[in-house]
Subunit: 136 residues, 2 copies
């Protein structure tokens, strides 16, 4: 029940939910999530911490940069079911579609701030437009 409650609580905040959905496009750097959300860096850090503690996202550090991604298939069933629920619930949400477009723009400016690799960018944009296609 503890796990469930922390997940549900984590999902109950709009900014956190939008960050989580933004990660569908693939791994994002904190600086990108910060730009996307428009919140203060400290606030973003705290939100990401909540998502991470709930098991919904994983982080990895590369130098000064921290990248976060959605929990993988090794996550608990409760987490995987939650992510599935989030995605299904927002399959046709115009706000989320709008957010998705904004992520594309932010990713175009990659390498201006964090050292994301070229192949990661190509992979992310490619995967993302596939998902986007399904939405439209």
């Amino acid at each position: 029940m503890r796990e469930f409650l922390s997940i549900a609580s984590a999902l109950g905040d709009e900014n956190r939910l939008r960050m989580l959905l933004a990660l569908r496009s693939g791994e994002l750097c904190v600086c990108e999530i910060t730009e996307f959300s428009g919140l203060a860096p400290s606030t973003v850090s705290k939100h990401l911490s909540i998502l991470r503690d709930a098991g919904l996202i994983d982080g990895r550090k590369e130098g000064r940069w921290v990248y976060y991604r959605l929990a993988g298939s090794d996550a608990s069933p409760v987490v995987l079911d939650a992510i599935r629920w989030v995605q299904n619930a927002h399959a046709a949400d115009p706000r989320v579609a709008q957010d998705a477009e904004r992520i594309v723009e932010i990713l175009k400016d990659r390498k201006k701030q964090c050292p994301a690799a070229d192949d990661i960018e190509a992979s992310i944009v490619s995967d993302f437009e596939t998902v986007g296609g399904k939405q439209r």
Copy 2:
């Protein structure tokens, strides 16, 4: 997104979650939920209101008594998915199993307080032990 957030928020409180799970045994009267939860009647009422506004439960009034039950199959897909998630996540939770036993005790005292019908009682206990059986 509004709908999703209200559901997730509703599910993020332990007392509300336990009330929701208690309704798996079938329709319950507010007086029974109040007894089960151990909270003040006004608090119970507020929690139930949140669950109802999120679409997770439906209520019906019969004289002085109000009965609540889990949302039915006419509920939105987001709600149905959420209820499925709740149930799957707690399939093997000892605390929830304990709660389930307590509900049985409370239902045995039915008719001491609210005018639930005999056939409803038989149906509820019967359904509930079936569910309980799957848990054990």
